[in-house]
Subunit: 343 residues, 2 copies
């Protein structure tokens, strides 16, 4: 080990110097693979080239650290979304727990189908059905109470097929990309169609993304100080849907800066990628393609579940990706490992 | 100069060490006044005690850096809001520019009064009047076009009484508090009733607060890719009012963490301070009281403009402040300088 670089910045008062010492064996940086779970190929190369382009001072596309923003969809991009989004599983589980106090649900859709465990009926639920389910399972309590319910559910719930906690089903290759970008000075955001308050419960622990860097869908909250100590009560009313065009809107609203890199996996991410691409300088737009039925699930173009409503990757999206130069990540070919527990 | 402290953290790969070297002359830290524009007194002491309590490792109220959040109202807390909010001045100026293309405004309130320069009528404008003005001056264009208009206006507009750019009317003592908190590891947010997109135009340059740390009111935006390049069009419809209870809601929505320190100056900040106070550990709640008619304006309890609608500091707010232990900053007594240009 030896000091290979010493950078110091004097604070305004000049009383202290903040110094960054890089200690290392010569050439160590070049040898390290920042993306060990990725196979050699165009996807991995594109990520590394983008980071080089935006963070090496000599690059004409160099980005100042404050402008280094990367956004990641969550469901299907950072963790497994099949057979159903984790948050939907949470809602169904809550409904089951609440059922005994609501005898009227036995005769009322969509609750009836959920309580009867009718998977076929549930697979055909409309957005309005889901909103009704969200209204009774996600509202009528304070933000703290909701967070406690999510935490409790995550600690015990097991994902189908893998029989593991949902938070185990995080994609190791994507965690590596997030970490790599962070190490290179990027601020990494999650931009999810899922519930902002839901994802914030575990984002820091699972993805190393703090709550303030989670942009998601939300319901109306109401300030209530009637008990002396103020709380924010969750109301059964949609406030913001962070999906499709909403992702570009949400990015502008919550971040106020245009990302240089965006990662998604479905039609709901198209506008986020378009919005990212419309900026100047180096751009990286990537879509995860679920084509690995052996290790995860296969759906979308060429997949085994062509008409899935969960994480729809349509032929039209593939056409847009090809036309726009977005990089499609093949889980099967590009990822050496999918989950950390595989190793 | 000598090294007084050396802290190193090995990165996960253990190839590099990040080291923080504190160089200094012994005792230099104790001698430096972080708040030179503040007079000695309880307000200044409270700020310094709060920082000590939350950032010294030995303190029982020590806060981890990721939990150090401070929020500042803008109008009347960080810069002058009288005789009218800067953003309202911008809107009136825009109306004047747009007037010739809208002959119908000559007969239609609230536009008629604005175009006629009827200050008395304007002082009685209702919220609905202002919303109509915002609708025509802040919407019907893309976010980029709006930002360009604000930038252009700020570059030329002069504030009444001082005949200086609005961005000169920033309170030097508050800039010092923001800087002091940042140096101590706090993330400093602006939480304003004003327009989020408006304030973001200059927040970084004026306050060193990046766009993603500005929470404010907003109108609906719509994703429009009809021209090939996507834009976000601003619609004449309120999306979120970040004022009063909305400040607590906005803090939860945009930050997802409870602040430990909050600074305001009017009734619209009460819930932000209540929300801050309701957390555990060290808390700092402060209200700027405009009691200096000589150097700025005097309004609120004991002020010269008791029934102002701009930044209302009611007797009820003073009662709540006293009862809750919030610290009221006297501009007259606590601030050695108000503006940087005074010196």
């Amino acid at each position: 080990m030896r000091i290979i670089e010493l950078r110091c910045r004097w604070t305004a008062t000049a009383t202290f110097a903040l110094c960054l010492i890089l200690l290392g064996t010569a050439g160590a940086q070049a040898q390290r693979d920042p993306l060990p779970s990725w196979n050699k190929g165009p996807a991995k190369e594109a990520i590394i080239a983008f980071v080089k382009d935006t963070t090496e001072k000599s690059s004409p596309k160099y980005l100042e650290p404050q402008d280094r923003i990367a956004t990641f969809d969550q469901d299907g991009t950072l963790w497994t979304e099949h057979p159903l989004y984790a948050q939907a599983m949470f809602a169904l589980s809550r409904l089951g727990e609440m059922g005994p106090q609501h005898p009227e649900w036995k005769e009322k859709e969509p609750f009836k189908s959920v309580l009867a465990g009718d998977r076929e009926a549930m697979s055909k639920f409309t957005e309005s059905d889901w909103l009704q389910i969200v209204a009774v399972t996600h509202a009528g309590m304070s933000t703290e109470e909701f967070q406690a319910l999510v935490k409790q559910w995550l600690a015990t719930a097991k994902a189908p097929r893998f029989d593991r906690p949902y938070t185990d089903l995080v994609y190791q290759p994507m965690l590596e990309v997030m970490k790599y970008l962070r190490e290179k000075g990027f601020r990494v955001y999650i931009v999810t169609g899922g519930g902002q308050e839901f994802v914030r419960v575990y984002s820091e622990q699972v993805y190393d993304v703090p709550p303030e860097q989670v942009v998601g869908s939300s319901i109306v909250t109401k300030y209530d100080d009637s008990s002396g100590k103020p709380v924010l009560m969750r109301e059964p009313k949609v406030f913001f849907i962070d999906d499709g065009p909403g992702k570009a809107i949400g990015i502008n609203l919550f971040i106020g800066k245009r990302p240089s890199a965006a990662f998604g996996n479905s039609g709901g991410d198209a506008q986020m990628l378009e919005w990212t691409q419309a900026g100047d300088g180096a751009r990286l737009m990537m879509l995860v393609h679920h084509d690995d039925a052996v290790r995860e699930y296969a759906y979308g173009p060429g997949g085994g579940l062509p008409d899935t409503h969960v994480g729809t990757f349509s032929d039209a999206l593939m056409t847009e990706a090809n036309k726009s130069g977005w990089i499609v990540i093949s889980m099967k070919d590009d990822w050496k490992h999918i989950y950390a527990f595989e190793k």
